[in-house]
């Protein structure tokens, strides 16, 4: 099951549509890391609203996506973690430490916009 990735302005949006196997998750990670520089994206949103399970492997892979993309100079935000998924993750001991999360796509875009503005401000003051 491939995850469609759309480009919207300076951002890439990957919307998970159904359950993903480990192989699908790895493919999503690799594609995003390549795409982010190819299209010179400033931010990446991974929408996991459709996922009914985020287990240890999925958590590790999402975390890796965020870290790798940060190393490529862009920001990642994971959006749409469902309440029962969040409950199971915490019980299992999974935290997505150091990874930005937002309630939904709209909040995720707002987060990336704020990050972008802060970055622009920083560039101006350093001039």
């Amino acid at each position: 099951m491939q995850v469609p990735i759309l480009k919207q302005g300076a951002y890439l949006i990957a919307t998970v549509q159904s359950a993903l196997t480990d192989e699908d998750l790895k493919q999503l990670r690799d594609t995003l890391v390549l795409q982010v520089s190819k299209v010179r994206a400033r931010g990446v949103i991974v929408d996991v609203t459709a996922l009914d399970v985020i287990d240890s492997f999925a958590t590790r892979t999402l975390r890796d996506v965020a870290y790798m993309i940060r190393l490529r100079g862009a920001e990642t935000v994971i959006v749409g973690i469902q309440p029962e998924v969040a409950f199971s993750m915490v019980k299992l001991g999974l935290t997505l430490e150091g990874v930005a999360t937002s309630l939904d796509l709209e909040e995720g875009l707002a987060y990336l916009n704020r990050k972008g503005n802060a970055h622009a401000q920083e560039v101006r003051t350093h001039r």
Binding site: A19, L20, T21, D22, E23, D52, V53, I54, D55, S56, F57, T59, R60, Q82, P83, E84, V85, F87, S88, M89, K91, L92, G93, L94
Partner: protein
């Protein structure tokens, strides 16, 4: 703690053979279906599906193949779901270590077994080094 023998089976069991990545997904989907049939609220079905995912992945990662058996069970009028993860893989050398958070022999997060124990109400593990592992977990309806 109720034992396997005292927990009565109240429905046909569902067996899912585990041998690759996509079997992990189908095992947890079958578990989710069974849990919602049993009347579990959505938080519990997610918990059960997550536990199945961890157990099935351990089979693929360490034993290559095995089986997940799902059963609706009851004990003293309480209904629940039982998940048995069985394989005849290499077994676990040190169960005590394997149950510790952050311990992994495969480069994983090391949360699979201790996390599954936290997710479920009952957790039993038997492993013969060289002969395989059987893990039985149950979650009871509140």
């Amino acid at each position: 703690m109720p034992t396997l023998r005292r927990s009565g089976l109240i429905a046909d069991e569902v067996r899912v053979s585990i041998g690759c990545d996509s079997d992990i997904v189908s095992a947890r989907q079958k578990g989710r279906e069974l849990a919602s049939q049993c009347g579990f609220p959505s938080t519990d079905t997610a918990v059960v599906a997550t536990a199945i995912s961890e157990l099935a992945r351990n089979i693929v990662r360490y034993a290559v193949r095995g089986e997940i058996i799902l059963r609706l069970v009851q004990n003293n009028g309480k209904r629940g779901i039982e998940v048995v993860a069985a394989d005849d893989g290499p077994g676990i050398a040190d169960i005590g270590m394997a149950m510790q958070d952050g311990y992994s022999t495969s480069g994983g997060l090391g949360l699979g077994l201790p996390g599954t124990r936290r997710l479920m109400d009952d957790f039993e593990i038997t492993s013969d080094y060289g002969k395989g592992t059987t893990i039985t977990v149950r979650r009871w309806r509140r």
